[in-house]
């Protein structure tokens, strides 16, 4: 996927626009950036990013990762996500990268890491299952039972 396609993909999601999410493609590498926006703050006294904003950012990252391999198909739908908050989200830019652990015929298992200053110091991690859109070539009755 080219940088331009990634930008268009993110631009097509109103919620991602509201969070201010940007896409970066460097060769095979794909990551999302959540620039610091005052509207993403959850605790103004600390200050800290809202857990929901960080969680939503990682969900978008997981869905974009699945979609980029099947750009012509619709988005997948989240079934269940587990979010661990590891460090306070400081009011600086945040990055997220997703890894598809397993992509089956109907469900993908994805892990996302979100970090700020250092990749080795993640601020949050998401692990989730996403329901994949039906592929036009899918024919359940002809699928090999495994």
């Amino acid at each position: 996927m080219k940088q331009r396609q990634a930008e268009d993909l993110i631009a097509s999601i109103p919620y991602a626009q509201m969070l201010g999410i940007e896409a970066r493609v460097m060769g095979d590498d794909f990551l999302l950036v959540l620039p610091y926006l005052a509207t993403n703050i959850g605790n103004p006294t600390l200050p800290a990013l809202h857990g929901g904003a960080v969680g939503g950012f990682m969900e978008v990252c997981a869905m974009a990762e699945i979609r980029r391999h099947n750009i012509d198909l619709p988005f997948s739908k989240p079934i269940g996500v587990n979010i661990d908050y590891l460090r306070r989200g400081k009011p600086v830019e945040t990055f997220a990268r997703a890894e598809i652990v397993k992509e089956g015929a109907r469900v993908a298992n994805v892990r996302v890491r979100a970090w700020q200053e250092s990749f080795d110091k993640p601020i949050a991690a998401l692990s989730g299952h996403f329901l994949l859109p039906k592929k036009p070539t899918d024919n359940v009755s002809e699928q090999k039972k495994s």
């Binding site: 005052a38 509207t39 929901g52 969680g55 939503g56 969900e59 869905m63």
Partner: protein, 160 residues
């Protein structure tokens, strides 16, 4: 009504409106009680996650549930103080109906000295047909203080 709950009714709406991200997505305070909180999220096209279906983004529901769980956690402790989300698990039962307000009801069913355990349901009018269910843990991150007037308080608020 205990002084703590009375105080929570005062600060509940302020806490939602005073949380920039909750405010930005249009979240509203509905109710609070001992270990319970209800918040709502009116439908907003800026929160659409899938432009084809116009369904709210999972992340918007995540934020609503996180905030409701946080308020329930705060209402679950016997003293007020800063808390932070440790973990949040969300199961999406179905897509939220486009155009409908999503309501999140959270119950803090257990607190220890430093941790609160909460479960929550998000629905768009019928509790029996949830949009999502959540399970969360929150942790105390700073000094808690008793709300004056609660006679069962063992230790008083610090003088400082």
């Amino acid at each position: 009504m205990s002084a703590l709950i009375e105080r929570l009714w005062e600060i509940g709406p302020v806490m939602v409106d005073g949380t920039p991200h909750a405010n930005a997505i249009g979240m509203k305070f509905v109710a609070v009680d001992k270990g319970r909180a209800t918040l709502s999220l009116p439908y907003n096209t800026a929160l659409i996650g899938d432009p084809r279906s116009r369904v709210l983004a999972g992340g918007a529901v995540t934020t609503l549930l996180d905030q409701a769980c946080g308020l329930a956690a705060m209402a679950g402790f016997d003293a007020l103080g800063p808390i932070a989300t440790l973990s949040l698990r969300i199961d999406y039962q179905r897509a939220a109906t486009p155009g409908e307000t999503v309501i999140a009801e959270a119950i803090c069913y257990k607190t220890t000295r430093n941790v609160a355990f909460i479960r929550a349901v998000a629905h768009d009018g019928n509790e029996e047909d949830p949009v999502a269910t959540a399970q969360a843990c929150f942790m105390v991150t700073g000094k808690q203080y008793k709300v004056s007037g609660d006679t069962d308080s063992k230790d008083e608020a610090p003088a400082s």
